[in-house]
């Protein structure tokens, strides 16, 4: 008797922390067995040493497994119209073989998630994001000739980031010399985009899960001469903060996960106002976003901070004049490349909007079982905190 696929899938419970298609390679490289759970997958915090892994991103080439990213395939004659209504950016302006960063909102303009939209053809797209949205995507498709398929488990993904990443790809036989930032191409059945989450030169590669290990091995062999190193999320997180990127449910709460009504955010409240294309006649949340702008009823603002000293201010309270609570630091690190104490913070307007001076953060540094309390001056600075010319140079440099 053959089991139905549904019966056969019962066995998932035997492995509650799913292993990604690259897991065997990561496990072999892991010296510290420092795993965490990313969307139900076993993922490394670090493989050996987070600090050295960070320097691989900034100095050589870092290989990071992004398979747990949630992926949806969206296709059909109405796919462009559908996505244009769903997301805040103008999808008509997204060319074939291009990628753009975007966000999508509920009808109240509250951000459901941010992510990247890949356009493979006139009618064919992939949406990559952090949270799961299948019911939302399907319900938004009423009246559109479009198919939506969740393909997270089927597609394996790798981010190859760092100044030698182009050299690694070239050595591996992938000709991506002409690939500009946000271009995407398929070579030898490998989908390669010049995208990433580090603010550095870098690429993301996607293959069907069965072809994952050959891809890893191909990159690894080619990368040996170029300092390739597998990294965990600890290193990536440092790089993404330097690049000023936000993470859903870390720097803001997504509308479908927030339990408290006041935690949801409009794009303008999390620094995504630049994505919103108000020229588009209609998209989810448009009326609410425009009304909030018109009525000046935006409540929050996301800012980059540079904080004096060198103690990271993660989750510190931000004060105005040292006494009025103005917001919270959602992410903060000492930036090794900028040599600055940087942070992303969510402030309650008018702080960060009309009142931009005289901001302070209260840092509690736990040192040998004692909190060293510090009030440190913070200055609003533009993001990204770190801007690297090599990120966008085309053709890219080899080192």
């Amino acid at each position: 008797m053959t089991l139905s696929p549904r019966h056969a899938a019962q066995a998932h419970i035997l492995m509650p922390r799913l292993e990604t298609p690259f897991h065997s390679r990561l496990a072999a490289l892991s010296e510290v067995n420092d795993w965490y759970t990313w969307s139900g997958y076993k993922a490394p915090h670090s493989l050996a040493d987070a600090e050295l892994e960070y320097f691989a991103i900034r100095s050589t080439a870092a290989l990071f497994d992004i398979s747990p990213m949630v992926k949806y395939r969206i296709a059909g004659p109405d796919a462009e119209r559908y996505l244009n209504r769903l997301t805040v950016r103008d999808v008509r302006k997204l060319g074939v073989s291009r990628v753009h960063y975007t966000a999508w909102c509920d009808d109240h303009g509250h951000v459901l998630d941010d992510g990247t939209l890949f356009r493979f053809g006139p009618d064919e797209f992939r949406l990559c994001c952090q949270e799961r949205h299948l019911p939302w995507l399907l319900d938004s498709a009423y009246g559109f000739a479009v198919t939506i398929a969740e393909e997270t488990e089927e597609i394996a993904g790798l981010a190859l980031q760092g100044p030698t990443s182009y050299a690694v790809l070239s050595a591996a036989g992938f000709d991506v010399a002409r690939l500009k930032p946000f271009d995407v191409v398929t070579l030898d059945r490998v989908t390669i985009s010049r995208t990433g989450f580090t603010g550095d030169l870098g690429y993301e590669l996607f293959v069907p899960r069965d072809e994952a290990l050959p891809l890893w091995d191909r990159l690894w062999a080619a990368g040996e001469a170029h300092g390739i190193r597998a990294i965990g999320y600890g290193a990536l997180n440092q790089a993404r903060i330097e690049a000023g990127f936000i993470v859903a449910n870390a720097d803001f709460m997504t509308a479908e996960t927030a339990l408290r009504a006041d935690r949801v955010r409009l794009p303008d409240e999390i620094g995504l106002d630049w994505l919103v294309d108000t020229e588009k006649p209609s998209f989810n949340g448009r009326a609410a976003i425009l009304a909030a702008r018109r009525n000046q009823s935006l409540k929050h603002i996301l800012v980059g901070l540079e904080i004096e000293g060198n103690i990271p201010a993660e989750h510190a309270i931000v004060y105005h004049r040292g006494k009025h609570e103005a917001g919270i630091v959602t992410a903060g690190i000492w930036s090794p490349i900028a040599k600055r104490n940087i942070a992303i913070a969510s402030l309650e307007r008018p702080y960060g909007e009309r009142f931009t001076d005289d901001l302070w953060v209260e840092i509690y540094a736990l040192r040998e079982l004692k909190y060293q309390k510090m009030m440190k001056r913070a200055r609003i600075v533009p993001r990204p905190f770190v801007k690297l010319a090599r990120r966008s140079a085309t053709p890219p440099g080899l080192r």
């Binding site: 019966h7 899938a9 419970i13 035997l14 509650p16 922390r17 969307s39 139900g40 009504a261």
Partner: protein, 539 residues
């Protein structure tokens, strides 16, 4: 003879909670219980040698942690242990499991529908938001909109303010939640029948309504309001069976000087000139007291124990029309070994949680159709649990106690009283359903207790054996529970109070009615209430 300030009619968990708080506040309190043991519907009884039976209520989640702490129940032996898992068996030999781990839960749903798997987050969020709204109301006396006392007005304002914290979306959602059928509600989130059937169960348990009856969505909410140590919505077992809850309460009560009299059935609550004067026990003994608190349900209290002529006609009328219909039964089974369910993987966590066999909402509704016709369901739905899979104290190693909650089961069979033959036939529908999924099940049975509404009413005293002392539909909640104008634990007779699940916030082994009643009594006596913890913050 010892004199008492206050008599509690019935030693159920709420009666004991009230008794504990009042005794601690300095009153002399006696609990009068008709059975030879206390506990009401939260008992652990050794019905056959070597097996403790949670023979009424069988799981614990709603019991308020504030009460456990105030009354030092852990010190008196109460432990609530969380369990994990659960499953619905499907007719095609598969099952739908419930796992505590978020991602495993999603993957399990995804076996049936990827959409439903991802919809669960949205569903859980909406339910949690509503629970966060209701939870703080549990430990507050419902305001009386007809009363113009400052406290009623401020409580009404509190309600309005809480509601006002919701956006328009949540407000709409709240009204829908409180009025919709659980079936319609789940249809908005899910497409898979077995998933809906699994979740719908909480919407109809203990309620003489079907999953398609309006109002059942709230019943589901009521079951999600509980927690095990801050894990909201989680359910657990009381170690030693549900009697551990009431045993701990009894010990707490006696440790501060309270008196429990068992085999002391109250036959009448006495009153003179609109004021209570005490009670008369079966056998004629009269006990005087200025305060009497009834843990019995509102119908039993005011239609049997109090002279109807001593009550306003309108009040009696409302009590008569309070809905508390018998709808469920219980089959409790001692097993000489752990049953096997071949559909489940070996050592599955599901065995430690709630197991069901009803894999569609339609089947549930058909089961309800039988009830409407005055019959027990030919194809009932069971909420089946084997607490001994994680509680080693209820029987010896290798042996098991199984609790089967069964719905639907009418208060009368086609209009006539239950007979023993009816009861046995009812049990057979249950056993045969289990045996269909568990080969050899019958051979493992050592002893069995079957309880229809007749047995539950006879032993526990709840009218029609309704487990909530009155259905939990919106028309019978808050200031309408049990009777408008009498929702603050007081009655038309001065000195006579109610503390059972017929009062706000309703049934389940929650203790909140008992605690809130004690609060009102102490207020009337102008005694301090600081020793009673405020409801934990919902942050």
């Amino acid at each position: 003879m010892q004199k008492f300030d206050c008599l509690i009619v019935g030693g159920g968990h709420n009666g004991l909670v009230t008794a504990c708080y009042l005794q601690r506040a300095g009153l002399n309190v006696a609990v009068l219980e008709k059975n030879g043991w206390v506990g009401g519907a939260a008992t652990s009884r050794e019905l056959t040698p070597g097996f403790l039976y949670s023979n009424c209520s069988y799981v614990c989640s709603l019991f308020r942690p504030e009460i456990m702490r105030d009354l030092e129940l852990p010190r008196h032996g109460l432990q609530v242990i969380a369990y994990e898992g659960g499953a619905v068996f499907t007719r095609d030999g598969d099952y739908l499991a419930s796992y505590r781990d978020h991602d495993s839960h999603r993957r399990e749903f995804a076996r049936y529908s990827k959409r439903d798997a991802e919809a669960y987050n949205r569903y859980a969020r909406d339910v949690t938001r509503q629970c966060r709204f209701i939870q703080p109301l549990l430990m507050r006396t419902a305001p009386d909109p007809l009363g113009f006392r400052p406290r009623d007005i401020s409580e009404l304002l509190y309600l309005a303010r809480k509601f006002g914290e919701f956006g328009p979306q949540e407000m709409a959602q709240t009204l829908r939640f409180w009025t919709m059928s659980i079936s319609d509600f789940l249809d908005e989130y899910f497409e898979t029948d077995v998933i809906k059937a699994y979740l719908a169960l909480s919407g109809i348990i203990g309620t003489a309504l079907g999953p398609m009856s309006p109002g059942t969505a709230y019943v589901l909410l009521h079951h999600y309001m509980g927690e095990v140590d801050g894990s909201v919505g989680a359910w657990g077992y009381a170690r030693g069976g549900m009697g551990a809850v009431t045993q701990a309460l009894a010990r707490s009560f006696e440790s501060v000087g309270g008196v429990i009299r068992t085999d002391a059935e109250v036959e009448k609550i006495l009153s003179r000139g609109g004021r209570t004067t005490g009670v008369v026990l079966a056998g004629g003994e009269e006990i005087k007291a200025r305060l009497v608190v009834s843990n019995a349900d509102v119908k039993r209290t005011f239609l049997k124990l109090v002279e109807e002529k001593d009550l306003p006609g309108k009040f009696v009328h409302r009590v008569k029309h309070f809905k508390m219909r018998g709808s469920s039964g219980k089959v409790n089974i001692a097993l000489d070994s752990l049953p096997e369910f071949p559909a489940l993987p070996k050592d599955s966590n599901c065995m430690r949680g709630d197991m069901h066999f009803t894999d569609s909402v339609e089947r549930m509704e058909r089961a309800y159709d039988d009830w409407k016709a005055g019959r027990w369901s030919a194809d009932p739905f069971l909420d089946m649990m084997i607490p001994t899979t994680i509680d080693p104290t209820m029987t010896s190693p290798g042996k098991h106690f199984m609790s089967c909650f069964v719905q639907y089961c009418p208060p009368k069979v086609e209009g006539r009283d239950w007979t023993d033959a009816d009861r046995d036939a009812f049990a057979e529908t249950v056993i045969s359903q289990i045996a269909d999924y568990s080969p050899g099940f019958r051979d493992r049975i050592v002893h069995m207790e079957v309880r229809t509404p007749r047995e539950i009413e006879r032993e526990v005293g709840i009218t029609e054996g309704n487990i909530f002392q009155g259905e939990l539909t919106f028309d019978q909640l808050l200031f309408n529970r049990p009777v408008p104008g009498y929702a603050q634990y007081r009655s038309p007779i001065a000195g006579l109070y109610m503390c059972g699940s017929s009062t706000h916030p309703g049934g389940g082994v929650m203790g909140a009615p008992g605690r809130n009643a004690a609060m009102e009594i102490l207020r009337d006596l102008k005694r301090p209430t600081e020793a009673m913890s405020k409801a934990h913050d919902v942050v």
